[in-house]
Structure formats: C-alpha cells, structure tokens
Amino acid sequence: MSVSLEDTIKAQTHSPLSWLLSRQTFWVFIAAIVACAALSIATDTFATPNNLFNVTRNFTFTAIIALGMTVVIITGGIDLSVGSTLVLCSMILAVVMHAGFSIYIGAAAAILTAIAVGAVNGVLIAYVGMPPFVVTLGMLSIARSLAMVASNNTVVFQFGPDHDKLLALGGGATFGIANPVIYMIVLALITGFILRWTRFGRHVFAIGGNEQAATLTGVPVKRIKVMVYVISALSAGICGIIETGWLGAVTTNLGSGMELQVIAATVIGGANLAGGSGTAFGALIGAALIEIIRNSLGLLGVSAFWQGTFIGSFIIIAVLFERIRAATER
C-alpha cells in the first residue's frame, strides 16, 4: 500500500495516551496521589479534614509564585528575588493600611511595588544584558532590606480601618474552600491560558527554545523578557497580599528562603531550567508534591530540620532526570 505525501503530513506522531505518558507532570501527579494514598493508610493523622485543609492552604502560596516562576524559567531565566519581593509587597501593603488608607490603596501600592521590582529586574536582564542569576540575587538582598526600611524592622499586625477586610481576603473561605486556594486556581487558569493560547505565551517558549532564532524572526525578545520578570514579581506580590491576610501579621523574615521551594516546585512540575518547557498545571502539582512530603515528614515524626535536605535533593534529582531524558532523546 502506498502512502501519499498528504497522508504523511497529516499523520500524528502521538496518540493522546502516549502523549500523556511522556509528560513529567503526569508522573509527578501520580506520585502525589500515591503519596497521599500511602500516607492515609500509614498514618491516621494525614487524611483528617484539618490536616488536608492545612496542606492545601500551605502549598497554595508556593504554587502561586511558582506560576510566575514557571513563565520565567520557560524563557531560560531564573528569579531568585521572589521571596524578598513577597515580603516587600506585604510590608508596603501593611504599612500603607496601618497608616489609615483603605485596602484598595494598600493593595494598589503593593502591586505597583511588585511591578517596579519586576521591571528593574527585567530591564537589567533584557536591555543591559546582565545574567538573571546575578540581577535577581542582588534584588533578593535589596527588596528584603527595603522591607526592613519601610517597617523599621517591626512586626505589623494592625491594618487600619480595613483590617477585617484584609483578614477575610486571605483567611476566609468561600463555599468551604479556603480563599487562597480559589485565587491559586484562578491564577493558574489565567497562566495556563496565556501560555497556550496567546502570542505572548508562544514567544515565551520560543525565547527559551532558541533566543537567537526568536530575535531573528522578529519576536520582541527584550520586551517579553521584561514582561516575564514583571509577571514573576506580580505573582510574588499577589501572594504577599493574600499571605498577609492569612497570617494577620507581617514580619520581615516572611518568605525568606521561599525562592528555593518555588524553584523546586517549578522544576519538579516539569519546567526545564535550561528553558523551553513548563506548564501552569505542573507548577501546581510540583508545589503540591513538595508540601505533601513536607507534611508527611512532620506526621511521621521526622525532624523539621531535614526539610531543607529534601527540598534541595528534589531540585537536584529533578534536574538529573531532565539530563537523563535529554541524553536518551539524542
């Protein structure tokens, strides 16, 4: 039987099933479910409503920032400043509201702060041509320091006239689901939509795949690079607002070390640190898996001091898998 050229061109390489099985996100999803099932059997404390509520709420904050981080990592960049951006935006919100302004003005100030931080990162990286690692490492120090300056390194727990509104925003629940979880899902849907269905999203992937090619074909590479760092900072800023509402207080060590957890979540969720791949859903799943394992260590009586070892190992192992996969594909 002869096969025509048209048939060859129309043929599909993957069936839906083989496509699914080739996705790292799918396997991490399975791992998360298996871990949940195992923990439910092994301990009688995991599958309690209280603990599950804790787990979902805890991973939400990592997941929201991981969404922004995913976009940066797809372009082949990295943003180490997210934890500090979070505390700076939280602190700006807290200080502005404490001074007697409404929650709207406070949130707007926090969002503008996030945009400014992201724009500084982005412009230095895209237009000045500095390595993302260096720029955002500097910003990690700067933003946290600015948070200390803004608050004079005090704890803020009085949020002026809109105090209750802020606490309801972050700490309340709608239809029995914690508000942060709802924000996370909405933000994930938006991120997923942007990555898959917009020209901007397509260009983000193109830059990660071959920046030179993207430039040559007329993709506005520099503008898009600035925008991805703004998106990353925005995700940290939004997370800061929500987390402030959840905690009811802001200290200047909020979000410290968070960048590592966020990067781990992103990479475990299937984003490649070399750029060119990653999904919004993967960021959520990666964050969930980390939190489940963190939580289970506590329930199984392992000292909390071990957590850093696990998170660090996760990053290394995920990158190792990526290496092995790249080597076998060739």
Partner: protein, 246 residues
C-alpha cells in the same frame, strides 16, 4: 527597474569594518549568487537587507524607494524574507509553530485574539506539500532530520508572497539529494517571479542556479558579473585574492 538596489553600504562593528562601500542590484526574477570566504561580509550584508543590522553608511532601495529597516519585521513588510544559515529554529516548538514564529495566526478580535492552531497546522501542511517535504506540522523540530528542518525554515518564507528571498548557506549541512531539492526550490521561486540572493560556499550550487554572481573579499565587492561570463576558476581566484578584481 531593480527590485533591490544597494548603494555604498558600509558597516562597522567598533573598529572592525565588516563592509566597505558595497553596491549591488537585484532584478526581478533573478538569482544572484553572493560568494566570498569566511569573514568576507556575506552574512553581514544579508542581515542588513533583512533588517537585523542597520548599515553604518549607504542606502537600500526596494522598487525604487529608499527604505530603512530597524527590525526584521519591517523588512518582511517590504517583501524581504530570509532563510538563516543556522535556520533559526526553536527545537522545543512544533514545525507549524516555527513556520509561524513572529507572525502567529490568531482568531478573535484585536488584542483578545487567541492562537489559531487549526489554521496554522493546515497552512503549514499545505506549504510542506508544496515543497514536497514529508514534514508533519505537529512534530517537534527537535525530532526532525536535517532536510525536514531545512523545509521548515524555507516554509517560513512562503507564508507571505515575498519579492525577495535571501538564503544564507541553504545547502551547507544537508545531504546530496536534499541539495538538489533546495536548488529546485530556488528555481521554482525564480520561475514564479521571485528574486533570490543565494549565499553559498558551494561553487557548483551557485553555478547551477544563479544568473549573476557577486564576490566579496574583506568587506569589499571585487566582482559582479553574469554566470555565463565567468567560471568557477575565476571566482575561486576572486575569493582568495589571486585575482584582484573583475
């Protein structure tokens, strides 16, 4: 009237003079072979025409009108398409995504338009069929052979109906059979009224398809003549400097 007229083009990168007072014209439905040794300035000249670089001096005229390109997209809008030497492909994207890179098809209204995957797969498939290439629009470029990658890069130029197609070493890294395919494609472009500038190291390819030949040496144009009036031996001499100019 010449489709493309370059006059007095010079380009400096700091202290390095990549091009020095180069003039060149390209007629309608004409293939001009641009030859020269490594570093002679061929790629720089092509990148200036394609809008990647701005010339330090000199003017570019298209259809008798002076143009200034700040970005590749502006050159495209004037009907200039280019196939880059390294093909400029993103391995992590599909063939169709690469064909449409930088000018993705969208459906919907204005800024709210979403990517039109169906239209892009369909159009890319049509172009691959025209090129007689067994390339699937949905396949990732990283899984493709050298010939398929070439087809993807060439398919890009067919999205619009360009006046001028620039090809930077299109036959450098592909098999003999694929070279013949690419040369046929260049002939097909000319027969349909397109003008082509072909940069190549491969003397037989240039002599097989070009109407005229221009030789660059150390940023200067040392010869421009009809293929019929020249010979591979003479061109080799011009490239190396054994013959000063012709």
């Amino acid at each position: 009237m010449a489709v493309l007229e370059l006059s007095g083009i010079s380009k400096n990168f700091g202290a390095i003079q990549a091009l020095d007072d180069v003039s060149l014209s390209l007629g309608e439905a004409e293939v001009v072979g641009l030859m020269g040794d490594n570093g002679a300035g061929k790629s720089t000249l092509v990148k200036i025409i394609a809008g990647n670089f701005r010339p330090s001096h000199g003017t570019i005229m298209i259809d008798g009108r002076e143009v200034h390109f700040n970005r590749p997209i502006e050159a495209r809008q004037h009907g200039v398409e280019i196939v880059y030497q390294d093909l400029a492909l993103c391995d992590n994207l599909t063939a169709a995504a690469n064909v449409f890179l930088g000018r993705e098809a969208r459906k919907g209204i204005g800024p709210f338009g979403v990517l039109d995957y169906a239209a892009m797969y369909r159009r890319a498939g049509e172009i691959f069929a025209e090129l007689k290439s067994e390339t699937r629009p949905r396949d990732l470029v990283k899984q493709m052979s050298g010939g398929q990658r070439q087809a993807v890069a060439i398919a890009r130029t067919r999205l619009s109906d360009p006046k001028i197609v620039l090809m930077d070493e299109p036959t450098a890294a592909i098999s003999v059979r694929q070279v013949a395919e690419v040369l046929n494609l260049i002939r097909r472009l000319r027969d349909t009224g397109h003008s082509v500038i072909l940069i190549s190291h491969r003397m037989p390819d240039v002599f097989a398809v070009a109407d005229r030949i221009a030789v660059l040496r150390r940023g200067k144009k040392v010869a421009e003549k009809k293929i019929a009036d020249s010979s591979p031996e003479e061109v080799t001499g011009l490239i190396t400097g054994a013959i000063a100019a012709a």
